[in-house]
């Protein structure tokens, strides 16, 4: 079965779905790195909080008795985006802004501290148990079949991929066309100069964190819908993998983050399918190391020359 074509297609679909989730988180890392040059280590926890707010909203909607799935999904999406973005905003305001201009290590330590804090905050409030959820959307389209092995593209996977594409288009337009995006790009190139020509740098950085949190929260919701179970620790691994994706694509590059996410998703899916599931994380990290050794700027990154 393993060497048939349908099996390959099946894994391809799995990998793309997983890669969409990683890509959405990776954008948050790459944007923050581009604009303030720090690794927002707590970004994975923002993703986890997004997943938790989603499950809570789903349960509340279920309690209220709302049963029309598209409307429920839309409400959950909006509530998750709004509430999670508050976390993103607060994170920057409380933990990172006071340290701008301090040694970079200081900001990394607060980021790790924030990550530990948020994990335990959620664990304390929502208990450490796994939170399972009934599948909201079931069914799918039968794509192909070979000797009894059926490849289906589930509606869930379709929604994840389509939603990712839509978000990416909206987000790219926002960066390319709006004044907000222009300010963001200006700050990325030169923060002082941007401030001199009248860009509100503080506000732009805040917006960057909010946008990153919104994308991560959607990823969290997708994770919940796709796997159907979450716990307070999912942010750690997902965060590291998304960061790997950002580095793979070239940190600071937005298309690179998405590409990196897809690649990491595909690698993980194929590695689990053809080699060993247990070592899929090792494979991801090995790729991170290889990329950093042979192409430190990533696939789509610009070279960063250090001058005296």
């Amino acid at each position: 079965m393993q060497n048939s074509f349908v099996y390959f297609i099946d894994q391809l679909i799995n990998g793309l779905t997983l890669g969409s989730i990683y890509g959405l988180i990776a954008i948050g890392y790459t944007m923050v790195y581009g604009i303030i040059g720090m690794i927002n280590f707590a970004h994975g926890e923002i993703f986890m909080i997004g997943a938790f707010i989603s499950i809570i909203t789903f349960l509340v909607l279920g309690m209220v008795g709302l049963s029309w799935v598209p409307l429920a999904l839309l409400i959950v999406l909006i509530v998750t985006m709004v509430l999670t973005s508050v976390y993103g905003w607060t994170l920057e305001r409380v933990a990172y802004r006071p340290l701008r201009g301090s040694p970079r290590l200081a900001a990394l330590i607060t980021a790790i501290g924030m990550s530990i804090f948020l994990q335990n905050y959620v664990q304390l409030l929502q208990s450490a148990r796994n939170k399972p959820m009934q599948p909201v959307i079931s069914g799918g389209i039968e794509l192909m079949q070979d000797r009894g092995y059926v490849v289906t593209l589930s509606y869930m996977q379709m929604i994840i991929i389509v939603l990712t594409v839509v978000l990416m288009v909206v987000f790219s337009l926002m960066i390319a066309k709006t004044s907000l995006g222009r300010a963001q790009r200006a700050c990325e190139q030169d923060r002082e100069m941007a401030a001199l020509v009248g860009v509100n740098v503080d506000q732009t950085i805040s917006v960057t964190f909010v946008v990153g949190a919104v994308l991560a929260s959607v990823a969290g919701m997708m994770f919940l819908l796709y796997y159907g179970v979450i716990d307070f620790f999912i942010g750690f691994l997902a965060g590291i993998k998304a960061f790997t994706a950002a580095v793979l694509g070239g940190i600071g590059s937005l298309p690179g983050a998405m590409l990196g996410g897809l690649l990491i998703g595909l690698i993980e899916a194929f590695w689990s399918a053809y080699f060993t599931v247990e070592y899929k994380d090792v494979a991801t990290f090995a790729i991170l190391v290889l990329v950093l050794i042979f192409r430190p700027t990533g696939l789509l990154g610009k070279p960063d020359i250090e001058k005296v």
Binding site: L59, L99, L108, P132, M133, Y279, L292
Partner: protein, 507 residues
């Protein structure tokens, strides 16, 4: 209270609407933060998850946030008196609520206690501490008419303290050492306290080891625990399969860890700070995943048990009856007591930690130690002066790893059992936090930070569930308060003019 007046401080009239607006915004943000995760609790019920509301807690958080913000604004606007009155009243109120059962007896007490907004009184205790902190700050503000110091002033003040501590370290060091040596024989040293001290000393040793990598060489290593794990597993595997004694295995374990450090460090050490941090984190996780899944070699999640205990330098064993070696208590004519082994372990880790410290102090004066510090300050300048950055960094990485390996062996022999559970990322973060919070490169700072972060929480075991929460918050708060670390003070290693011997004005 002094009669110094507002003349030297700019006291503007209060802008009440702006104040309410600011506090309202804080309350709004807090509402957004808490409504989802605090407002609803997911509870496990048979067949799924149900939900329970906790809106009273959300309301309490929002109101407290609003009032707290107003207090902060008042302090900022040089009006500490109302803050003092308010906080003292609030603190007294909270105390009455918390101690209601002892104050009013069980019956009325229970009624009063039900007024507490949060489920767990610990939260109210935390709030009480914060309120008292506000009151203390208000008192300071009234005394000095300056509520806040600027970051520079605070930094300068802490710098002076750091410098003073480092100067005093020459005196404090021997005193602390003498205390540490006699400590097991003082009456207060019971089993529990000794165990905590051994734990703290293990982290002091790890902190000193990592200090070579992070503090001296300036390489941010987020996977230090990997070498700790390599040392522990090397020791455990050698000890259980070949039945070699602790003293023979210890150097091997250190060597294995150092080899791992050099092998892992070789490809990645040319990376810049943040990238290096992530790659080392990746390595740390890789080693843990391998330990977890290589079942035939490491025992997987079951770990390794029955790790040999250290003998008394190969002369005697800490057992009740003599087996291969004579029993320690019989050899020395003492009555048998299990605490003898604990005391021996205490001295063992003390000696190991001091060896690391001594090594670091000496190597800082050698060319390689100087090269580390120079690399930390400016890599490009070093390159142009002919220092090979990669080899220099590798020595730091390897030596740091070796000490982690020693600490790992000690950990394995003390526990008698190890499993991958003990070597998670959080351990790396804790060790790094000890180094950073103590102030990079400050040896005494590591001790202070280890006592604060490891020793202190051990005494609050009942608050287990809040421990890591407070740990994360402390990491953030200390960094915000003092970005360079608690006792950071960089003493130049070399002086153009030796102390006191130079031209006037040189310190």
């Amino acid at each position: 209270m002094t009669t110094m007046h507002a003349s030297d401080v700019d006291v503007r009239p209060l802008d009440v609407p702006a104040m309410v607006k600011e506090a309202g915004l804080t309350a709004l943000v807090l509402f957004g933060l808490t409504i989802g995760l605090v407002g609803f609790e997911t509870r496990d019920v048979p067949g799924g998850v149900a939900i329970r509301t906790r809106f009273d807690d959300v309301a309490a958080v929002v109101v407290i946030g609003f009032i707290g913000r107003i207090a902060l604004i008042l302090l900022r606007e040089h009006r500490p008196r109302p803050v003092l009155i308010g906080t003292v009243a609030a603190a007294a109120g909270m105390l009455v609520l918390l101690l209601s059962e002892t104050l009013f007896g069980p019956h009325t007490g229970a009624v009063v206690k039900s007024l507490i907004p949060f489920d767990d009184p610990v939260v109210v205790w935390g709030l009480f501490v914060v309120t008292v902190g506000f009151a203390v700050r208000a008192v300071f503000a009234i005394r000095h008419m300056a509520s806040t110091l600027s970051l520079e002033e605070r930094d300068a003040r802490m710098d002076r303290i750091g410098a003073r501590v480092q100067h005093a370290a020459r005196l404090i060091g021997p005193v602390l050492l003498a205390l540490a040596v006699v400590f097991p024989f003082t009456p207060m040293a019971d089993r529990q306290l000794l165990d905590i001290t051994i734990l703290v000393l293990t982290y002091v040793m790890l902190g000193w080891g990592l200090n070579i990598v992070v503090g001296l060489a300036g390489l941010l290593d987020l996977g230090y625990v990997a070498f700790y794990a390599v040392g522990a597993y090397a020791f455990a595997l050698l000890g259980t399969t070949y039945d070699i004694s602790f003293w023979v295995t210890l150097p091997f374990a250190g060597l294995m860890a150092a080899t791992a450090g050099v092998l892992l460090g070789f490809p990645v050490l040319r990376l810049r700070g943040d990238y290096l941090a992530i790659v080392t984190l990746g390595f740390g996780e890789m080693i843990r995943v391998i330990l977890l899944n290589w079942y035939t070699f490491t025992g997987g999640p079951d770990g390794i048990s029955g790790i040999p205990r250290p003998s008394f330098f190969g002369i005697a064993e800490f057992t009740r009856r003599a087996k291969d070696l004579p029993a320690f208590h019989e050899l020395f004519g003492l009555p048998y007591s299990p605490i003898q082994r604990i005391i021996f372990l205490y001295y063992l880790i003390l000696a190991l930690a001091l060896a690391v410290n001594f090594f670091t102090m000496r190597i800082r004066r050698l060319p390689v130690g100087r090269a580390w510090e120079a690399l930390r300050e400016d890599e490009i300048a070093c390159r142009s002066l002919g220092i090979n950055p990669r080899n220099t960094k590798l020595t730091a990485f390897g030596i740091g790893a070796m000490f982690a390996g020693f600490a790992g062996s000690f950990f394995a022999t003390r526990q008698g059992f190890i499993s991958p559970e003990s070597f998670t990322f959080i351990e790396s973060a804790v060790i790094l936090a000890i180094v950073v919070l103590g102030g990079f490169g400050s040896q005494i700072g590591v001790v202070v930070a280890a006592i604060l972060l490891i020793g202190l929480p051990e005494f609050f075991r009942e608050l287990q569930q809040y421990r890591m929460l407070a740990f994360g918050a402390a990491m953030v708060l200390i960094m915000l308060w003092r970005p360079a670390g608690l006792l950071a003070h960089r003493e130049p290693t070399l002086r153009l003019f030796p102390r006191g011997g130079g031209p006037k004005g040189a310190t």
